[in-house]
């Protein structure tokens, strides 16, 4: 006897309504591959590209935030629609509340807060970002903080490029960064 998805969704929704599910997650396909997206009551706290195992990702959430984690496609349907619509180029903004609780360092928070101010279609450099964060010369540390961004796409860490002009590294792989920058008009379509 296999548990039916209908039954599991019912349990998850009851848990959400009762307020005992601290984290809700879902997985769905996008132009950038299958994403695992999780949210707390404050906002989206994790967006993960394919690569890291689901067990490891959920384990990180459990250890750092709360083990009361449930899966619900329904509860994340709106978030899913917003992300897919953005990645398919139907909308030009991605308006979703963000929860950066997974970011523990103050510098890391500052880097992600400041990169969120870089407008769509624009890019900045690691050095410039470090400077804005009050640490001129900490370009490498800014790069590390961006690499640990738990909410890529929504917090646009892809809008930071090396001053050499190449696309540069990206946690999800440089082709995804290229895709996002082309989508946003920061790079010409290849």
């Amino acid at each position: 006897m296999k548990l039916e998805p209908r039954f599991l969704e019912k349990v998850a929704n009851s848990a959400i309504q009762e307020g005992i599910a601290d984290i809700v997650y879902s997985e769905f396909d996008t132009p950038l591959g299958r994403l695992l997206v999780a949210r707390s009551d404050k906002g989206v706290c994790l967006i993960a590209y394919p690569g890291e195992s689901q067990h490891a990702l959920l384990g990180r959430l459990s250890t750092s935030l709360s083990p009361r984690i449930v899966l619900s496609q329904e509860a994340l349907a709106k978030t899913q629609a917003i992300i897919i619509s953005y990645l398919e180029g139907h909308t030009s903004s991605i308006d979703i509340p963000v929860d950066l609780s997974l970011v523990t360092s103050e510098f890391g928070r500052r880097v992600l807060d400041n990169v969120s101010l870089v407008a769509r279609g624009r890019v900045t450099s690691y050095g410039r970002l470090a400077q804005v964060c009050g640490h001129p010369g900490a370009a490498r540390a800014a790069g590390t903080a961006l690499g640990r961004n738990p909410v890529p796409i929504v917090v646009p860490c892809h809008r930071v490029m090396p001053s050499t002009g190449i696309v540069g590294g990206y946690g999800g792989g440089s082709w995804r960064k290229q895709y996002l920058l082309e989508l946003e008009g920061a790079l010409p379509k290849s």
Partner: protein, 153 residues
């Protein structure tokens, strides 16, 4: 900082066997019972402290949920209708001889018999699942067997 695994991974790992167990304890009400059990488990999950014996804990919570469900049903006044009694829609139920055999026993007796003769657990493991000592578990199985024998003779 929690050392507990994500709750939903537990559900994915043990949900099927818990549903089978709930069905043996509560028949057609298994879905309601398991839903109550999982919600109850989720409510108290962060208070568990460590991640040991989680499977046994889930069985215990399911057993308690089945008892509570059964008690609530007994308290509920019976509604009289002139329609035919509802029969089971579970296609597997008729195949489950043991399930139908113990179906009339109390949830406690069903739990004890299921854990001993279906799950084939030792009295120590049954005690862990039911939250009692091995000796008390042996006693419960023995009492359940006597009840079953009485019903069959």
């Amino acid at each position: 900082m929690s050392s507990l695994p994500p709750f939903w991974l537990l559900v994915e790992q043990h949900g099927d066997e818990l549903m089978r167990y709930a069905r043996r304890l509560s028949g057609d009400d298994a879905e309601d019972v398991l839903q109550e059990a999982l919600l109850k488990a989720l409510r108290s999950y962060p208070k568990l402290g460590d991640g040991n014996h989680l499977r046994a804990w889930l069985y215990r919570v399911t057993t308690t949920a089945a008892w509570d469900h059964s008690a609530r049903r007994r308290r509920r006044p019976e509604v009289l209708t002139d329609s035919l009694p509802v029969t089971t829609t579970d296609p597997h139920e008729n195949d489950d001889d043991f399930g139908s055999l113990i179906g009339q026993l109390s949830p406690g007796a069903r739990a004890a018999l299921t854990l001993r003769y279906v799950e084939d657990l030792s009295y120590e493991s049954i005690g862990t699942r039911l939250g009692c000592s091995p000796e008390a578990a042996r006693q419960r199985v023995s009492t359940a067997v006597r009840s079953l024998r009485k019903r069959l003779t």
